[in-house]
Amino acid sequence: MPKEYKTPKLDDLEKGPWPSFVKEIKQAAKNNEMSNDLLAVLERSYDERIGHWKHGGIVGVMGYGGGVIGRYIDIPDEYPNISHFHTMRINQPAGWFYTSEALRSICDIWEKHGSGLTNMHGSTGDIVLLGTTTDELEPTFQDLAHVGFDLGGSGSDVRTPSCCVGEARCEWACYDTMGVCYETTMRYQDELHRPAFPYKWKFKFAGCPNDCVAAKARADISVVGTWRDAIKVDDAEVATYYDNGMDIFNDVVLNCPARCMKFDHESKKLEINNADCRRCMHCINAMPKALRPGDDKGATILIGAKAPIIEGALLSSVLIPFLKMEDEEEREAWYDIMEEIQDIWCEEGKNRERIGEFIQRVGMANFLEAVGVEPIPEMVAYPRDNPYIFFEQDEEEE
């Protein structure tokens, strides 16, 4: 029987309608010494208002440099069962679909080798197995591999790519997010498992501009579905929304950022000037039964998002306005550009400099020139508003 700890502060977090992580830790602690010690040290953190975890160290599985986050406690004498408490990141299936059988196979392995605690899922998208010892890493990895799972990314590598549910269950998906996410993950297995970049590199695949995976805010390469032709309109369904009391003029027409819509109350018809449409998704979100993205679908590729550390937070900006994602040749050309960018970044990037920061440092125009992409107006919110132009000097003049 595990040692019994008193945890009055955490016990309070078992109450209330939201599912309780404390119940989860206690559940696992019933027959797991690691989870039991975790509960105790967490209560101590709640008393002391400070964490007790130390930096990682280099731990991992043979031949990989990523996928395991080393974690040690700063008071191992008091909590010996979690003196090592390493995290393993397991690459999730695209779209986070599972069968009950697949989930049970992971649970059984984690019961045998670790704390019995998980995150479903980590922020980047991996299945996170929370806490085990150094000795258990390799056996856990191989047990997982034999039921079809592999480790995810960590450190300065391609991080586990993730995607929204896409065409599996969403009428707004403008390309097969799960298919491209899987293809990309398999293409970059080496880069994912063996960190060789200046810093992390994240791919995220969103099926439409609603961006349910926050690609534009979090991914170095944000692939955001969009379309080029007209929004598909079902007039009868528009009329039904109107008849059911929707305020189409105020809630749809006036919310259009391009002011490209008109609604006629008499005929109950919605007229869209598709040439001016910015593909923002608002009208489609508001009337999913009446409006849908067009048929000429693809994706916009944006580059450079990141959280604040080091040089400040960035949102991704446009690199390629439209790519036909279903076309294998176009995808291949896109991968070529990705690899060109990675090469230049590996060559010129500073240690722990994300691609977005690298672009800020060298200048977008210089960056584009180096990777062989022409600058176009779609890439800027507005052209420069200062006259400090570095006109290039004619090299023949001396």
Partner: protein, 366 residues
């Protein structure tokens, strides 16, 4: 031994998603026509073929025991032919083609402690990080704050209370932002407020000095010899407590029970709907850590939600509403004090000054 004879597998990648898809998804892949909210926590997707897929979205604490995951698997076996998925905001979704099953799943998952909700206009799970459960650089806990806030906002999750639009809340326990909270309607962010304490005894043994110096966004760290030992010094007036030095050098801890706490940020979004993506902006610079329930943090988040819900137009996200009515109104309605910390002084700070005479005059008296 079988263990020793087993082939060692590497670089196999994740399982192909196709083998986990429900038959109705495989059949209608890329052929969905529309979706509708059936009741709070339940939506139906209808395919061109006429097939229907019901999804029951249930709350999850994200930190799950294998015992609970097995219970999810049992529920999926009972009603969904073994099919389920998780969402990008940590919810669990049970997938079934039968409407009557959806209601049963909602009921049974609720009885298990995993209530359904979080679809459409409302507040869904909080994307969050590890906190004191598992992170070395946490300035606050993650799971505990999330639990406390969601208990308080539960009526916005389960559909009891209506709001104008989506409101995405996220929590990161330090500025590294594993939860990438910087584009959320409401972001709860752990912050340190004291400079690093340098262990000159250990620094040169544990860290690379050039790497430590380069890690500082404000160039506040420079090499120095202290008591004959190679180390660094920190120009404390230049330190904004980001802890990036600690990330590369364990000999420079910043965590402090009284000086660590929570800051609250508002008005970010990632969707392109209506307005372009926006960063979250500072609402409350510092709230001390007050476990286990963080009452001051709960109150501040609730205040923002209520003020937005009472004042925004349909579909308006928090940031869109504030852009329309202006920040003076936001601070007046929430009662948050506008302080020196609210005025940016990092790169491009000038872009955030109000470069216009367009102003509301607060408070407006009729």
């Amino acid at each position: 031994m079988a263990e020793a004879q087993r082939e060692r597998l590497t670089d196999i990648g994740p399982p192909h998603y196709e083998k986990y898809l429900p038959p109705v998804v495989k059949k209608n892949y890329g052929q969905w026509k529309y979706h509708e909210l059936v009741e709070p926590g339940v939506m139906v997707h209808v395919a061109e073929s006429g097939d229907e897929l019901y999804s029951v979205r249930c709350a999850s604490p994200r930190l799950l025991s294998i015992q609970t995951i097995r219970k999810f698997a049992d529920l999926a076996d009972k009603y969904c032919d073994g099919h389920l998925r998780f969402t990008s905001r940590h919810n669990v979704e049970f997938l079934t083609t039968k409407k009557e099953n959806a209601a049963k799943i909602k009921k049974e998952a609720g009885e298990m402690g995993f209530p359904a909700g979080g679809i459409g206009h409302g507040i869904t799970s909080i994307v969050h990080t590890q906190g004191w459960v598992h992170c070395h650089s946490a300035a606050t806990d993650a799971s505990g704050v999330v639990k406390a806030v969601m208990d308080d906002l539960f009526e916005y999750f389960n559909g009891e209370k209506q709001v104008p639009g989506k409101c995405r809340i996220a929590l990161a326990c330090c500025l590294n932002m594993c939860g990438a909270v910087h584009c959320s309607d409401i972001a709860i962010l752990g912050v340190h407020t004291k400079p690093p304490r340098i262990s000159h005894e250990n620094l040169n043994k544990m860290c690379e000095i050039p790497l430590v110096s380069a890690s500082c966004p404000t160039a506040a760290i420079r090499p120095a010899t202290v008591d004959g030992k190679a180390s660094v010094e920190v120009i404390e007036e230049q330190c904004m407590f980001c802890a990036n030095c600690f990330t590369v050098c364990p000999a420079m801890p910043l965590a402090d029970p009284d000086a660590d706490g929570i800051s609250i940020w508002v008005g970010g979004k990632v969707s392109d709907a209506r307005s372009k993506p926006m960063f979250s902006k500072l609402a409350v610079p510092f709230i001390p850590n007050n476990p286990p329930r963080w009452p001051e943090t709960i109150a501040a988040v609730r205040k923002i939600v209520e003020v937005w819900a009472d004042n925004a137009r349909p579909y308006e996200r928090v940031g869109e509403w504030i852009e329309r009515v202006g920040w003076p109104r936001f601070f007046r309605l929430t009662g948050f004090e506008f302080q020196k910390e609210h005025v940016d002084d990092f790169k491009y700070a000038g872009l955030s000054y109000n470069r216009s005479a367009q102003l509301t005059h607060e408070p407006w008296e009729e």
